[in-house]
Symmetry: none
Subunit: 192 residues, 4 copies
C-alpha cells in the first residue's frame, strides 16, 4: 500500500520542463566556461528560467552541478574500461583514453572544473566517483583481477583506484605536455 502518496498537496506541480532546461543549460555552460565561471544568473538566462525557480529547488551552484553530474549531462562520452583479461593492459588502455579525452581541444579545463567543483561541495566530491563510473567499473575489474590471482589478495581496492585516478588528476592539474608513455608509466608505478 502506498501510504507515501499521502495527502497530495495542492497547487501546481513542479515543472519537469524547467528542471531539465536548468540541468541542460548547466551542462552546456559547464562545457564552454568551466565551473568557476558558471553563474546562477547565467544558467537561468541560458535555460529561459527565472532565478527564483533555481533557488527554489537547488541550494547552491554546486547542487545544480551535482545534479547535472548524476543525470550524466556534464560528461556525456566517458571512456569505458576494456576487459581483455590482462588487467595491466586494460588499465593502460583506459588511462590512455582518459588522457586522450582531456587532450582534445575544448576539454582543456574539464578535469580542472570537475575538481574545482569537488573542492566546493562534499556532494560533488562523493558523486564524482560514482558518476565517473570509477568505483563501479574499475573497481569491479580490479576485484576480478584479484580473484583471478593477477593481483595480491589483500590489495586495498578502493585505495588502489584512488591512487590511480589521483595520479591522473594531478597529472592533469600540472598541465604536463601529453607524453605518449604517460599512461603506461602511471600504471607501472602502481603495478610493479
Amino acid at each position: 500500500m502506498p501510504a507515501s502518496a499521502g495527502v497530495r498537496r495542492r497547487g501546481a506541480v513542479r515543472s519537469e520542463e524547467a528542471r531539465l532546461a536548468v540541468l541542460e543549460a548547466t551542462g552546456r555552460l559547464f562545457a564552454t566556461q568551466g565551473y568557476d565561471h558558471l553563474t546562477i544568473e547565467g544558467i537561468a538566462a541560458e535555460a529561459g528560467v527565472s532565478k527564483q525557480t533555481i533557488y527554489r529547488w537547488w541550494s547552491s551552484k554546486s547542487a545544480v552541478v551535482a545534479d547535472a553530474l548524476i543525470e550524466d549531462l556534464l560528461l556525456p562520452d566517458r571512456p569505458v574500461v576494456p576487459d581483455t583479461g590482462d588487467i595491466r593492459a586494460d588499465l593502460i588502455a583506459w588511462m590512455q583514453d582518459l588522457l586522450d579525452l582531456v587532450a582534445q581541444p575544448g576539454n582543456d579545463g574539464l578535469v580542472r572544473s570537475l575538481v574545482a567543483a569537488a573542492c566546493e561541495s562534499t556532494d560533488i566530491g562523493i558523486r564524482l566517483n560514482d558518476a565517473l563510473g570509477i568505483t563501479a567499473t574499475v573497481s569491479a575489474r580490479i576485484e576480478a583481477a584479484v580473484a583471478a590471482g593477477q593481483l595480491p589478495a589483500d590489495l586495498p581496492v578502493i585505495e588502489f583506484v584512488r591512487a590511480l585516478v589521483g595520479g591522473f588528476v594531478l597529472h592533469s592539474l600540472e598541465r604536463s605536455e601529453p607524453a605518449p608513455e604517460a599512461a603506461e608509466r602511471l600504471v607501472r608505478a602502481l603495478l610493479h
Copy 2:
C-alpha cells in the same frame, strides 16, 4: 665596475615592506577563510596596502597565492618524510602525519583550498608540487630506496609520487572519516 648592473631605471623602487605585507596577509587569510573566500580587497585591507599596489605586481588572486606558496607562507609547518631505512614504514609515517595535519580543526579545508587554487592557476598547479617539498624530499627517498634495491629499478618515480599524493588528495576531497589504517592502506595499494 660591474657593467652588468646596467641602467638602473629611475623612480622609486618596489617596496619590499608592501610585498611582504601582502604575502603574509594572504597566508593569514588563506588559513582562516580558504582560497575561494579570499578576496583582493580583503588582502589589501589586511595588509594595509592599496588595491592598486596588488594589481601592479600580481595579475590575479591566484598569482598572489602562488607567490605566497613559494615563499612558504601558506603551509608553515609541513611534515617531513622520516628516514629509517624502511621505505614502507617511512611513507606510512609521512602519510599519517599528513592525515593528522588536515584532521586538525581549522585545517579542514586546507587541501581543498590548495587544490582549488591549483585548478585556477597553472602556476599554482606546478608550484604546488615543488612547494610541498614533495618532489624534492619524497622523490629523493624513493630513489634511494630504488638504489637500495627495496623498489624495482625501473619504477617511474614521478608517477609513483603523483599516485601517492593523488590518492591522499582524493581521500581528502571525499571528506572520508579519518580511518586509523588509512595511511597504511594507501601505501599498501602502491607497495604490494
Copy 3:
C-alpha cells in the same frame, strides 16, 4: 474591461521609497558638499540604497541631480518675485533676496554647484531655468509690465530674463563681496 491598462510588465515594481531616498540624500549632500564632491557611492550610502539601484534608474550623477532639481529637493526655499505693480522695485527686491540667499553661510557654493552641474549636463542646464521658477514667475511679471506699458512692447522677454539671471550668476562666480547696492545696480543696468 479596461483595455487601456495594456500589458503591465511583470516583475516587482520600482520602489518609490528607494527613489525618494536617493533624491533626498542627493539634496542633503548637494547642500553640504556641492556638486563636484558628490559621489554615487556617497549618495547610495546616505540613502541606504545599493549603488546598483542608482545605476539601474539613473545614467549618471548629473541625471540624479537633474531629477532632484525638478523634485525641488536641491533648493527648498527659493525667493519669490514680489508683485507691487512697480516692476523695477520688484526685480530689485527679488534680486536682493537671491543675493541674500547665497550670502548665507552654507550656501557659498550653491550657485557654483548648480552652474557646474548645468555645465555637465544638458538636462540640468535646461531644467535649471524651469526649476528655478525663473521662466515661470519672472517672465510672467515682465510680460505683465510690458502689457502695462512699463516696458517696451517689443522687449525680448526671454533674453531679458536671461541677462538678469546671467548677471546674477556671473556676479556669484566672481565671489565679489556683497555690495549693498548690487541688486539695484544690476537691475538698473537693464532698466535704464
Copy 4:
C-alpha cells in the same frame, strides 16, 4: 647687470621649457577634451613632464588652467569688439562673433568648460573676465558710448557687461539651437 638680483639661490633653476610644455599641453587637452575630463596625469603625459613637476609649481588642476588662461593658450582666437561709432551695432556684431565661435564644431563645450573651470576656482572666475578681454575692451566701448551720450550717464557699466556676457553664457548652457536673431535680441533686451 642688476646687482639687485642678490644671492641667486643655488641649484638648478626652474625649467621654462617644462613650464611652457605644461601650459601648452593644457591648452591642447582643454580644447579637445574640455575642462572636467582634464587630468593632471594626462597633462603630464602630454607635456612629457612628471606629475611631480606639475604639483611642485601648481596647487591644483584649476591653477594650471588659470595660468594657461592668462598666457592666452586656451582661447587663441577671440573676437574683438568692433568700433563703428554705433554702440548697438557693435555689440550685436561682437555677440554674433561669439555665437559663431562657439557654434563651430569642436567648440561645443568651450563655454561649458570655461564656466566649469570658473565654478571650481575663484582665480579662474576672476581672470576669466580679464582674459576674455571683456573688462578691458567692452567696458571701454561702453564707457565711450556713455561719454558720447548714446547711453545714460549713470549706467552701471560693470553690471551692464556682466548682464550681457551672462546672457550669452546662459544661452550657451541651454544649448539652444543657434537662432539667427539671437545676438540682436540679446542686445535689444539690454538696450531698449
